[in-house]
Symmetry: C2
């Protein structure tokens, strides 16, 4: 563990800094210590969100383990602190320290499951349903608040829901008839039961703990 940390560096980044560029070789294992980041991919001039990263977790550990180029890009969404560990060092310790390695394995497993859940959501649900379920999931983490605040701009949210800005707007409007009220970035949940009825959340798609 010492050998890990003496080569690592903790850095502070403002919002909107691109930390990883897809298709570049993996050079560091990034650990988000504080803040918020997104994993995204650039395709045909557009951007699509792959996942959101909350502290404390690593991002894109798979590229380091596989010793392969990154499949997606990453940027900070708010001011964040990130721990950078040289890839070389990580792979070295993966052959020595069992505690670290099985921690990495757990991290990979969690990320993998997240990705499968996202895939399931896209295969089986419409845009509005994905949005409704995102709102429900978000409302759970902020300890029973009746109000969800989108922590980034709407374009970013749209790219993570898997739609365009325009349709996100329409979808939010549509949910107005299903227990929700919109005020800029604030989404007030007036009738949670009605929203749940519409969204039909499933444990194995929407529950981040599963």
């Amino acid at each position: 563990m010492e050998r890990l940390l003496d080569a690592a560096l903790l850095q502070q980044f403002p919002a909107g800094v691109v930390l990883i560029h897809e298709s570049s070789q993996a050079d560091f294992l990034h650990v988000l210590v504080e803040g918020l980041a997104e994993i995204y991919t650039e395709q045909d001039g557009g951007e699509w969100g792959i996942s959101l990263v909350y502290p404390v977790s690593t991002f894109i550990p798979a590229a380091i383990i596989c010793d392969q180029p990154y499949l997606s890009s990453a940027r900070t969404l708010v001011k964040s602190r990130v721990l950078l560990i040289p890839a070389e060092r990580v792979r070295e310790i993966c052959n020595q320290d069992i505690v670290f390695t099985s921690m990495i394995a757990k991290e990979l497993a969690r990320a993998y499951r997240g990705s499968v859940k996202k895939l399931k959501g896209h295969l089986a649900r419409s845009t509005v349903e994905r949005l409704a379920n995102w709102i429900l999931a978000e409302s759970k983490k902020d300890a029973h608040q009746e109000c969800v605040v989108i922590p980034f701009d709407r374009g970013t949210l749209a790219s993570h829901i898997g739609t365009t800005r325009e349709n996100l707007s329409r979808s939010l409007g549509y949910l107005t008839d299903h227990g929700v009220r919109i005020r800029g970035r604030e989404i007030a949940i007036d009738d949670k039961d009605q929203l749940i009825l519409f969204a039909r959340p499933q444990r194995f798609i929407d529950d981040p703990m599963s």
Copy 2:
């Protein structure tokens, strides 16, 4: 390694046997030794393909590592031999044997990257493009054959491409104008360059090695 194998059992299954039921607790680590299997999910009465499993690899290792229910189901597509290792034993060895653990980590990393690639394909491409790229990818592995044979029925292929049987049929018809000829389950590639031109394959979506 001995402790792993003395608790494991190698079993033979015919085609179409469901080995894993989603939402059930993970009891075994499955290793496909020979044959072909698919990971899929059941949603609203339909089935959607998540991934295909070729030998030799594990399936759904993440559920065992996380000690959580499976997120998807798995079945054999052809007669297959599968090694079953009790989950308990796997987790135990994950705290002891570094070689095994880092092998699992690599396996998880590969699966994770596969899932991200599938997600990218769905976000950025149309059904026909996904199909065209699947054909190209398939043609690569069978050592420069000019002909791809779908190794399962079309409904299954449709579910993995992310469309319906009907639209798969239409899409195959459409590709007829782009260098391909269809004869039942055989897809003859007459003009690979033209197909590539249409499909615009990307290394970081379609190359299974990356």
